[in-house]
């Protein structure tokens, strides 16, 4: 563990609950925004997108399916070793069982929603990449924003209350934290409902924005 990770372990122990720690690592492979698909950027830059436009599916749906699949595949491949090791490790680094069955079901629901929110957010970046010659800049800007707003740079609890309450309404917190906090039951029933509603809300907004933008882009696309 490097220093950053040690600190984030300490912080999450302090602010959420020790049980979340091993999950953080699993979830990174699954929900991390910076894991965008290079294939998609490449196809936009080098024009292989022509072939994707020759398929009888909307590119938005195709990319959505593809990103979901990549992330799920990676998470599934990675999670077992981590979970097995975590099962044998002592507290506070070990893994707790979820607080109750409903908590676990809500955790799964929230995890799926979190994944969908992350993917739709990435899709927005892919679509925006049509407007630029190189998507590198877009990528850096978006990833930095996500890191800042999701509390990866400065943990959210360190922000002043009124700023934090705004940041918690943004989609970035609902990408990663919600599921973990439900699992460890560090938030109450009311908060869980609000958090899941927020995820649902962002999912709808991001999908609508992505689809709309995609339709505009496909009309004015130029392929050499």
């Amino acid at each position: 563990m490097d220093t950053y990770e040690k600190i984030s372990v300490l912080l999450s122990t302090a602010f959420y609950d020790g049980a979340t720690v091993p999950h953080c690592r699993t979830c990174r492979g699954y929900l991390a925004v910076w894991m965008m698909e290079n294939d998609i950027f490449d196809s936009i830059v080098n024009g292989n997108i022509s072939y994707e436009l020759c398929r009888p599916i909307s590119i938005y749906n195709m990319w959505f399916a593809r990103s979901m699949a990549t992330r799920l595949a990676r998470a599934v491949l990675r999670c077992f070793p981590i979970l097995i090791v975590a099962a044998f490790i002592q507290q506070p680094y070990g893994i707790d069982t979820p607080a109750s069955l409903p908590h676990f079901l809500l955790f799964v629901l929230s995890l799926i929603l979190g994944l969908a929110v992350t993917v739709t957010f990435c899709l927005l970046v892919y679509v925006l990449a049509f407007f630029t010659i190189s998507p590198q800049g877009l990528r850096i800007v978006f990833i930095s924003c996500v890191e800042f707003f999701s509390g990866a740079v400065i943990p959210l609890p360190f922000f002043p209350d009124h700023i934090r309450s705004i940041m918690e309404l943004l989609p970035f917190a609902s990408m990663q934290n919600t599921a973990l906090r439900i699992y460890s039951s560090s938030i109450g029933a009311d908060e869980i409902r609000r958090a899941i509603e927020l995820q649902g809300f962002w999912l709808v907004v991001l999908t609508a924005a992505g689809k709309l933008l995609c339709r505009v882009v496909v009309k004015r696309i130029i392929v050499q």
């Binding site: 022509s50 599916i57 696309i221």
Partner: protein, 262 residues
Amino acid sequence: MITMEHVCKSYKIAKRNAGFGEACKALFHREYETIHALNDVSFTIRDGEMVGYIGPNGAGKSSTIKILSGILTPDSGTVLVDGRVPHKNRIDHVREIGVVFGQRSQLWWDVPVIDSFSLLKDIYSISDICYQQSLEELTTLLNLSELLRSPARQLSLGQRMRCEIAASLLHRPRILFLDEPTIGLDAVSKLAVRDFILRQNQTHKTTVILTTHDMQDIESLTSRILLIGKGQILLDGSLDDIRTGNESIDATVAELYRTYNI
């Protein structure tokens, strides 16, 4: 039936001079040059026809193919392919066409070719029976049986091109667009590809539109040629129309380009 009437398409290209200063200037003020890729292009192609589309580099051949396959939206003019407007009903349209871009690859790079094919089967929702039939037919005709299990990245260009063509025909399109299908192929592969295209046109009555710089392709495949230069159709006729004597076909075409000053 394919009709294009008075189709225009232009691109805007940002230009600047060399140097750091110019690069900074371009951040604030950019100069664009408009290039008319297609300028009032009209033609009609009947079902089952095989048409060679020729012209020098940058004449607008690929733009035409991309407009016909629904990828690009024309600036003006009407395009109708079997009663559909390609760029408006893109999804319905592409179900009925097959496209091969000789310079690109539609096969997934790391997985065996057969996996790419079965993914295409799902994308086009081809029924199991149809898929098996097409696959068998294409495998025999294009001699693919040895190639299907290797990843696309390890195939030679000629082998890959045969697979690319098969991939574009799995869903049995009625129209096939080939954009430089024989580019970079050796003599044997070229002959195999030509032979296959010819047979496909005869047995399945597939309409074929072919762009190429290889005049032997045109000579052995197509009865009708369309010559495009500077975004305009300059000639629509048969090879015999342009033959001037018994020079080689390449010399004839070079002569033709010179007369049209393109």
